[in-house]
Symmetry: C3
Subunit: 341 residues, 3 copies
Amino acid sequence: MTRALHTLGAIAERFGLELRGDPALDVDGVDTLAQAGPTRIAFLANPRYRAQLAGAGAAAVVLRAADADACPRACLVAPDPYVAFAKIAALFERGPAADPGVHPSAIVASTARVEVGASIGPCCVVEDGAVVEAGAVLGPHCVVGRDCRVGAHSRLVARVTLVQDVRLGKRVLVHPGAVLGADGFGIAFEHDHWIKVPQLGGVVVGDDCEIGANTTIDRGALGDTVLEEDVRLDNQIQIAHNVRIGAHSALAGCAAVAGSATIGRYCLIGGGAGILGHLSLADRVTVTAMSLVTHSIREPGEYSSGTPIQPNRQWRRNAARFKHLDEIARRVGAAHKEPES
Amino acid sequence: MTRALHTLGAIAERFGLELRGDPALDVDGVDTLAQAGPTRIAFLANPRYRAQLAGAGAAAVVLRAADADACPRACLVAPDPYVAFAKIAALFERGPAADPGVHPSAIVASTARVEVGASIGPCCVVEDGAVVEAGAVLGPHCVVGRDCRVGAHSRLVARVTLVQDVRLGKRVLVHPGAVLGADGFGIAFEHDHWIKVPQLGGVVVGDDCEIGANTTIDRGALGDTVLEEDVRLDNQIQIAHNVRIGAHSALAGCAAVAGSATIGRYCLIGGGAGILGHLSLADRVTVTAMSLVTHSIREPGEYSSGTPIQPNRQWRRNAARFKHLDEIARRVGAAHKEPES
Amino acid sequence: MTRALHTLGAIAERFGLELRGDPALDVDGVDTLAQAGPTRIAFLANPRYRAQLAGAGAAAVVLRAADADACPRACLVAPDPYVAFAKIAALFERGPAADPGVHPSAIVASTARVEVGASIGPCCVVEDGAVVEAGAVLGPHCVVGRDCRVGAHSRLVARVTLVQDVRLGKRVLVHPGAVLGADGFGIAFEHDHWIKVPQLGGVVVGDDCEIGANTTIDRGALGDTVLEEDVRLDNQIQIAHNVRIGAHSALAGCAAVAGSATIGRYCLIGGGAGILGHLSLADRVTVTAMSLVTHSIREPGEYSSGTPIQPNRQWRRNAARFKHLDEIARRVGAAHKEPES
């Protein structure tokens, strides 16, 4: 495979960056500051790596103006080097090797519609009433269930399952193993056993969302589960029925949101964090990793729960005391405070 | 597609509900109290939505007798409106579009048995010695491994993998991405490396169980991993080898149960909760979300661990103090209490 | 199916165990101490099961020398009975029913290479530039993406997805639903929306690793995500981009490791534990279940966070006090301690 080649000058011009160095220099890829060789572009965004700058071997380094003087190589000066680097790196990314059309091993229902330019990979199944819009790419082993829609230029990387009534916007990227539109967890207790509460809603995913590997988003019970545009979900996240996530929010791996919770716009939910059902989070709320949100949060800001990591012997002594913390508090005269829920 | 139509009178009679209103009125679906239009049935179970009753536009509302006078529309009076609604909603649910027989793209071993009326979907693989009983439905991309059994009228929605020696009862529902019968995590340390402990048992799932998307249930090391009847598992749950879960217990998303733990009947395990290996939980134990159970629980009741969510600045100060809680306790004269494990 | 038969004498000789009993006795399998009948071998490793020894019905029991006198049956004496039992059990394990060659339903790119003796199962997809080495076994529905390599005698049990640039060593075992090589979670915030940071690295998995069902291991952003040899991952684990896990470390189910974290050799990470990004853990660090590691750990040993499980009513009172723990500490004269991060 031949690699793409770009000159530093062309890159600077394309992304509006100031170049300090030879504009005719060819580069063929990107790499870390520590590893990049003379045909690669590196970047410096996190100050903890500044010490690596002196030894940089890259063709050029994307960095802030304040770091440029310390750089022994060409510089591409950017106000946000990480953003600029992301755009430059995309020049060298290999797209999916997707031929337009339907692979002969795929099974497409006669009532489904696959638009011109869409690509349906090996062993895909597209069921009744489904639509795959122009430019969408389905990798191998995807299932697009009844009445689902895959928006234009969206990509299901491989082995993605859209169960039923799932509508993806444009440029949505879904990673392998994700399941969208499975039944929500609706059960009602009758006398001595459970009965299933039918799950009749769908899933709506806005434009430019990304959904990680093995993440699950359940269909609504009544009405839809909704991700607004530009929501970013990492791997192994669980989104229950009738959750709504506001635009531009991002959830890290293994986070879980229980049924009918509403998350605002521009929220950041840490890895493994949990949000109980029927709660609301305001816009711009950050929840740190593995915290559990047990009540609605009305103000933007950062929220946490949990205790610090310690050597186990110390932790055991402290944890044992936690079981008597109310008594300890009473002894120190804090007894007038009512327990809060 | 034409929708099912039912009269209010027929619904009331079918489910033994008291109807206050016109029995001849046709309805064609269900919806939320806030959204339902004049051909839909809604319900009021949670008191927090009672204020919506005055503005209800539904054909009829399923509710308790005490709420009937406040309802401006027809009423279907039920002692448990949520249970009654679940049954009514099922009338309008679309079943899987499953034709009996084996899809031409499916691969069924010659020693496997597919009973009359079962449906094997596209790209399914049914291996040696497997049995799919009458009326069972396998959606696309399911694997039924060696010597597995899918009980009558069970349904594997899509892309479910039964690895080996997995026996499902009747009317079991398994959602996409679930993996049953993978090897348990059995490793033994020899000098300086791990050796694998063979996993030789199976998985037994009782009648009427439901298993969520991307949930995993490992085969036993020796003997089986067991779910008794009517166990309800949400998405992304991990059930390790040789766990036993009693009938009618329900586990919410992302819960995890370690090897050889035993959970009683009618237990409720909250989302993200963990149960360590070799423990026993009595019947009717409730564990709240993201709690960790580190010892057996012999009495029914509700159990919790963790700390409350707080603004991060406050939390940091408190969490830092937790590291010295034993010393704090000693200072206040609680030093006579032994640390507990 | 006929079962394998072995004599006790042959087993003792093969694994260097002392036999006390009849070497000519045939055995046809293994079972638990409580269940094993007269043709099965059982074992006693955990002292909590010693009481079962008197009633043992097994052909022979694998145990420590100190327990031999109390055993009413033949004994196979081993310094580590669990290790010895694991090896004996492997004699009776059924291997995958894998015929060498490519199943007619599999789709193998013309530029891929499948070596002699490898087995490619039903509906597998092997993409451009991929290599499946000799003796490797791919069960049904596996995807081996572009430029991936499956090392000799490795096994993808079923429905495993290697997205791109994933290189597995020899004798690697991967369980169903695992996804290796999906994009890491790289996003950069530009003004008012996210842009994707291209993920250009791969995944390298050393010899003799095992990877559990529905576990995810993301490709590196730049450079690779690496598991050294003999790393053991349970189910539903999330390994983010550019993580490095040292040889012989084992992670229990639902653990999660954030981006660029480094875990040493011989570490043990408990179920549901979390490790934040860019941290380092020394060799031989143990983290207990559901603990969150928020700073690097430089010393071997056991580490924990969290609070103990309690009846909910007691817990609520204590948890409410945690919100004021800093104030409580100040009152008892611990105010001179600075909060720690």
